[in-house]
């Protein structure tokens, strides 16, 4: 029996509260946690989680002050830098390209630096690297993974930046990159903000509209109650996502419209629960006692009914936020929500769908994120129900 787990409900709430708090902090300060900007193309495409990107990297002597290709630029009167490459590998082409790009960049700058490397081809990787060691070449450009494989043999050499400017962080991209080279982790963390904003805002709007309506309908009764309930029940009967789709289709895609659409969806939930609670609290003896001391109806609503109805609302708010996040993700998954430039879990899910076999991480991690947030809020709601509902507890 659940009763044997004394304190289980407290554990439930504590763990989920910690999770929720974590999500909220991430949502408020995504920049603190995300290694990259979510929109920047910071890495190679389709990089697996934790993998090192395989980029053409500049290999330099350990004591060299240079790091990037641009550092090799020298004044025109100085000898051109010699760069070693492996024969038959397309790296030289890339090198030439990059050199030209950089040249165009720096030729108008004062100082008269030019980058026109002399490219020396070697038969094998080891020979190319050996040239740098021997001082015959200033640097080498080889594929980073290949260098890392044999870097032990060349203790005096180190890996610099990639020649294309992409970062090849030693740890790689923690959760991989997506189809256009954005960091999945950063998008995830920034997406938390969107998800939570949508979730909280729509739930709050639904609450501020649904609760007063439910209170009045329950307290006053009569035709007001009947007509309102008719409207609310009709709304409630609609399959949620479809109604949200219809609304956003009419209003157009934007964050505000999503919030409105989802809020409309959940107003009936709050209305029904508050109305039901009001109806039963209305019959309580202490409400009759309030009438007997001469309290006005408004006072009775305010002081006697509202405070006794509100705890149930607080509990469903939590579960509601979870549901709203899910609906929001669903909307953007279908492409009906936000403009595609905003980092959002739903959009990432949609993108990752196509590449599920080759780049499984694109869809998995946003999916996991949604699941965890929904789980956290749901658990908190359930845990609060256990704690605050005295009828479920043993006397």
């Amino acid at each position: 029996m659940a009763r044997r787990w004394y304190g289980a409900d407290w554990w439930f709430v504590t763990i989920s509260a910690v999770m929720v708090l974590g999500f909220i902090i991430v949502a408020m300060f995504p920049g603190l946690f995300a290694p990259h900007s979510p929109d920047d193309l910071v890495g190679p495409r389709f990089l697996a989680p934790g993998a090192h990107p395989d980029l053409p990297a500049l290999i330099l002597p350990s004591d060299s002050p240079d790091n990037e290709l641009i550092d090799l630029a020298v004044p025109s009167d100085q000898p051109r830098p010699i760069v070693a490459v492996v024969q038959g590998v397309p790296t030289s082409g890339a090198l030439n390209e990059q050199a030209q790009v950089i040249d165009n960049q720096i030729k108008n700058e004062p100082g008269g630096l030019r980058l026109r490397p002399r490219i020396e081809r070697y038969a094998t990787l080891e020979e190319a690297l050996q040239a740098v060691v021997n001082g015959k070449a200033t640097a080498a450009v080889v594929q980073s993974l290949e260098f890392e494989a044999i870097s032990a043999q060349f203790p005096t050499l180190r890996e610099g930046a990639s020649i294309t400017g992409e970062r090849s962080t030693a740890g790689g991209f923690f959760l991989g990159t997506n189809d256009i080279g954005q960091d999945v982790l950063s998008r995830l963390l920034w997406g938390t903000r969107i998800a939570l904003i949508i979730g909280f805002s729509s739930s709050l709007v639904a609450l501020f509209l649904g609760v007063p309506l439910g209170l009045f309908a329950g307290f006053v009764g009569g035709s007001l109650d009947r007509s309102l309930s008719l409207v609310m029940d009709s709304l409630y009967a609609f399959p949620g996502l479809i109604l949200a789709i219809a609304i956003t289709a009419v209003l157009g895609p934007s964050m505000l419209n999503i919030i409105v659409a989802i809020a409309v969806l959940y107003i009936p939930t709050y209305y029904r629960i508050v109305r039901g609670q009001t109806l039963s609290v209305k019959e309580e003896v202490y409400v009759e006692a309030a009438k007997s001391i001469g309290a006005r109806n408004l006072e009775i609503l305010q002081k006697y009914i509202f405070p006794n109805v509100i705890p149930s609302v607080a509990i469903i708010f939590s579960v509601n936020v979870a549901d709203a996040i899910l609906t929001g993700a669903g909307l953007s998954f279908l492409g009906l929500g936000l403009p595609p430039t905003i980092a959002d879990w739903g959009i990432d899910l949609a993108r990752g769908q196509r590449f599920i076999q080759t780049a499984w991480w694109m869809i998995t991690f946003p999916g996991l994120a949604i699941m965890l947030v929904v789980l956290a809020f749901s658990m908190m709601g359930e845990g609060l129900t256990e704690i605050f509902n005295p009828k479920l507890r043993e006397r």
Binding site: M1, R3, R4, Y6, G7, E394
Partner: protein, 332 residues
């Protein structure tokens, strides 16, 4: 175990596990229920009488458990029975009636079905027709027309439902019926008729009844002996005439004086000060000492034993045990 005792409870302790600690709802209680008697078990709310009643059938689940004790029913220690053997005793040998009959009866089952099912569950060799006849005869004996057996519980009044509950116990020829506040939710005339019925059944069927109630008047009307509980302990037990005429325990004295008596011409109600103690941290020594008008120093440190004062009349009060105490010497 005394010969005429149907049920001998020895040193029973029932504990409740709560968030803030262990509460002993029944604390080292011993009691004998004699064959064929109506024993009234009285006390205020929280004294442990209902817990004791349920423990006699080992009905506790969840955070409540019997921590200690022997339950000698008809020669067997029920504590030694397994969980699978207990249901055979419940209903068939010991029956129970609860306070609110509405919640004890299945609302979607007709009374007749409830009765016949119960009979056949305990005595599988009984045919449907035989079970039905037995049920009809029984309820008629209890004052319900047999046609009403086809009704559902909500169609019957409270008094009738209580009679149905008794008929269940009788149907299985239970030896002991534990009635936990059976008349608290009944009107006073219905209550009077129900108490008459209990007395008739005691005479006709030799039924033994443990009547648990907070209503002193009810006990005075029907019981042969009375047991008074206070704060999870047994305060006083004795013949009903003895206890009412000469209550020994100060709590019993106060209780009897504070109960209104419609026959008395004049008189004020006695007002007992204080409140029953918190069972999480009961007072040291005698549990009644904070409220006792005759409290002595020793009552604050020493728990009284539950002993006879005059044959058959037992009390747990140091007022009657002082002689013994003096012999052992007082250590202040």
């Amino acid at each position: 175990m005394p010969d005429d005792s149907l049920y001998s409870v020895r040193n029973l302790t029932v504990e409740y596990q709560t968030r803030v600690g262990i509460v002993k709802a029944v604390d080292d209680v011993s009691l004998d229920i004699r064959r064929g008697e109506i024993l009234g078990l009285v006390g205020e709310s929280g004294c442990g009488k209902s817990t004791l009643g349920k423990a006699l059938m080992r009905l506790h689940t969840g955070p409540a458990r019997i921590a200690n004790g022997e339950l000698w029913f008809d020669g067997r220690d029920l504590m030694k029975l397994s969980d699978r053997e207990m249901p055979d005793v419940r209903g068939a040998e010991i029956g129970m009636i609860f306070q609110d009959p509405m919640t004890s009866l299945n609302p979607v089952q007709r009374i007749l079905d409830h009765l016949t099912e119960t009979i056949q569950a305990h005595e599988p060799e009984t045919s449907g027709a035989a079970a039905r006849t037995r049920s009809e005869e029984l309820v008629e004996r209890l004052g319900i027309r047999r046609e009403r057996l086809n009704e559902y519980p909500h169609q019957m009044s409270g008094g009738m439902r209580q009679r149905v509950m008794i008929s269940l116990a009788l149907a299985l020829r239970a030896k002991l019926v534990i009635a936990d506040e059976p008349t608290t939710s009944l009107d006073v005339i219905v209550e009077a008729k129900f108490l008459d019925l209990l007395k008739e059944l005691q005479k006709e069927f030799g039924l033994t009844i443990l009547l648990i109630t907070h209503n002193i008047g009810v006990v005075a009307e029907v019981a042969d002996r009375v047991a008074v509980m206070y704060a999870a302990k047994m305060a006083e037990v004795g013949d009903v005439n003895d206890v009412f005429a000469d209550p020994k325990h100060p709590y019993t004295q106060g209780l009897l004086k504070s109960v209104p008596n419609i026959r008395l011409e004049e008189g004020e109600l006695y007002k007992m000060e204080g409140a029953p103690p918190n069972l999480l941290h009961p007072p040291i020594g005698c549990r009644f000492h904070p409220r006792c008008p005759f409290v002595m120093d020793i009552c604050r440190t020493r728990e009284p034993a539950f002993e006879p004062v005059v044959g058959g009349h037992l009390v747990s009060c140091l007022l009657y045990q002082t002689a013994n105490v003096k012999q052992e010497g007082l250590h202040a």
